[in-house]
């Protein structure tokens, strides 16, 4: 039997998990170029829901952890091939054209269209993972060989026992995109075109739109948007812009990269007082295992 036994119930684990989850926030931004268009995003998200299940095979499972997007703003930049109307000669002469219809070119800039889409609150993502627990022992590289535990504490380099969560499987369901996003995107494209042609009177905008057919269809062609806008957007954000990695990295870093629990070794049991050094107890053979009901940590008092 080990000298020291600690156990935390599944309920306690969920309480701790809830505290960790509620303290988490993350924000990120990035951009990329994809042939005829560019895209950039700015995101901020926090976590909600989810539960921890302790499993008899020495693993824990975190299920249905929701990523709530407080900010998810995407800006699409589209470079549309230049289109010109007019310039035809209406009074030709032997010496050349005496009078031409004025030539108007549009889509001369790059990008021509900036389409901001604010998807905040319209998307929801979900993470589930299975992980095992393991212990580790950390010796600070800055700790000098001559240091005893008091010197190490004073220098801020004490040895530590650590408990890590090692992910075995991580499943990120990136986006559950609401149907409304399709309409939102079309409206955003239409509004961007109106802004682009804003210098023209209304009759001229209508003339140009009629001349070029549906500009929305043109933009959709340029963006290579299939019928399922949600799938396209999911692919753009998750894969092309690497937001999937942002989510996974942020959450895994927060929950898993750093030890979920660490404590000094030797462990302080009587504080320094009145010039007396603290009394610390060396901890040996720290081990952890998980059952269906609880996590059990065992250790011995070292020499």
């Amino acid at each position: 039997m080990s000298d020291i036994t600690l156990a935390a119930s599944e309920s306690a684990f969920n309480t701790l998990f809830g505290q960790l989850r509620d303290a988490f926030t993350e924000s990120a931004s990035d951009s990329g170029s994809f042939g005829p268009f560019t895209a950039s995003y700015s995101v901020a998200f926090h976590l909600e829901n989810g539960s921890v299940d302790l499993r008899g095979n020495n693993t824990i499972k975190i299920s249905e952890l929701d990523i709530v997007w407080d900010t998810l703003a995407v800006t699409l930049g589209i470079d549309i091939p230049e289109q010109c109307v007019g310039g035809w000669c209406i009074i030709p002469t032997p010496f050349g054209c005496a009078l031409r219809v004025p030539k108007i070119c549009i889509f001369s800039d790059n990008p021509d269209l900036l389409i901001p889409i604010d998807l905040s609150g319209l998307l929801r993502s979900e993470v589930s993972l299975v992980a095992s627990l393991r212990t580790g022992y950390f010796v600070d590289p800055a700790r000098q060989p001559w240091m005893d535990y008091v010197d190490a504490e004073n220098a801020g380099v004490p040895n530590k026992w650590q408990l890590f969560v090692d992910p075995q499987t991580v499943d990120v369901d990136v986006f559950d995109i609401a149907d409304i996003v399709g309409d939102l995107l079309e409206h955003a494209i239409d509004a961007a075109i109106d802004t682009l042609l804003g210098f023209l009177p209304g009759w001229a905008r209508d003339l140009i739109k009629s001349l070029f057919g549906s500009l929305i269809d043109l933009v959709r062609d340029l963006l290579d948007i299939p019928d399922d806008i949600g799938e396209w957007l999911q692919d753009l954000l998750g894969t092309s812009l690497g937001l999937l990695n942002v989510i996974a990295t942020a959450i895994l870093d927060y929950l898993l990269k750093d030890p979920v629990w660490s404590f000094e070794d030797p462990f302080p049991i009587l504080d320094a007082a009145g010039g007396l050094i603290p009394v610390k107890i060396p901890v040996a053979n720290l081990a952890v295992h998980v059952t269906d009901d609880e996590m059990v940590v065992e250790a011995n008092v070292g020499p």
Binding site: I4, L6, A8, T15, Q19, V150, I269, L276, I277
Partner: protein, 281 residues
Amino acid sequence: MALTDHSDLYASVTESGFNHFVEHIMRKRPSLFAYGTQFVADNWRKLLCEPPDVAPEVLRHQNPVVTVEDPIPLLGTDGQYGLNFGVQVSKLALDLYPQSAQLPPELGTLPDQHFSLYAQVCAGLGCPEDRTLEQFPPAPVPPFRPVDREGRQTDPVPPSKDRQVITLPSDRLLCCCLELFVVGHFEITGPAGSEVLEAKLDGLEIVDIRPDCLEANLECYLRLLMHYVVLPRLRIAVSAYTFGLLDGLAHVTLKPATSVPHNPAVEDDQLKLYVDVEVTP
């Protein structure tokens, strides 16, 4: 059956683990277990009845091995002379229910949910040699003589506050070691959120002291020493049993579980503690 069937968190320490704890405390804070005059503190290796095994870091950081106390006054010298002394707890061993260590008949058998503590207490008085007595004569108390007509004594002794206590030198202590047995139990005390685990004394017995009145007086003194000095310094915060597991979680507080019959429990040669986690808004 899970360890946390009746609480959120569970912590236990075995009897041997506890005794290892005590060994570390005795080695790393020896001044909690040894008391004596400055002279004894300065020469503890030579003078203490059982020189303790002191952790090297204690000496490296120049921590005291002996808590310095005033010399024992020689009664009737009006504070002029005092004696060196040293008192120490040199051995400690804990036995958690069920009983595995023999107790003196006066304490009976170890009750359920109790612990017993064996301690060896050594004490010694620095008894000066005869030649020292010649070096330090009695205070110049004037011989009995008639008072003057106004009732005043002539040649009065100076007030004691103006004099410094002279500790009569001695190069060793007259050591005597006693075996002490304590029976007690653990309680969780303190305000909610700041509970501490502390030991309470139920009985104390010194072995083989005669006459009985001397034993009773010594036991009384040692009981007070345990009650006022040793045990309060060995209280452990309940939160320490989580080894910092909940540090940094501002909305989590610990409270002793109330759904178990005994908390803390002393059984199976272990001290067990059941704690619930409470989330505050």
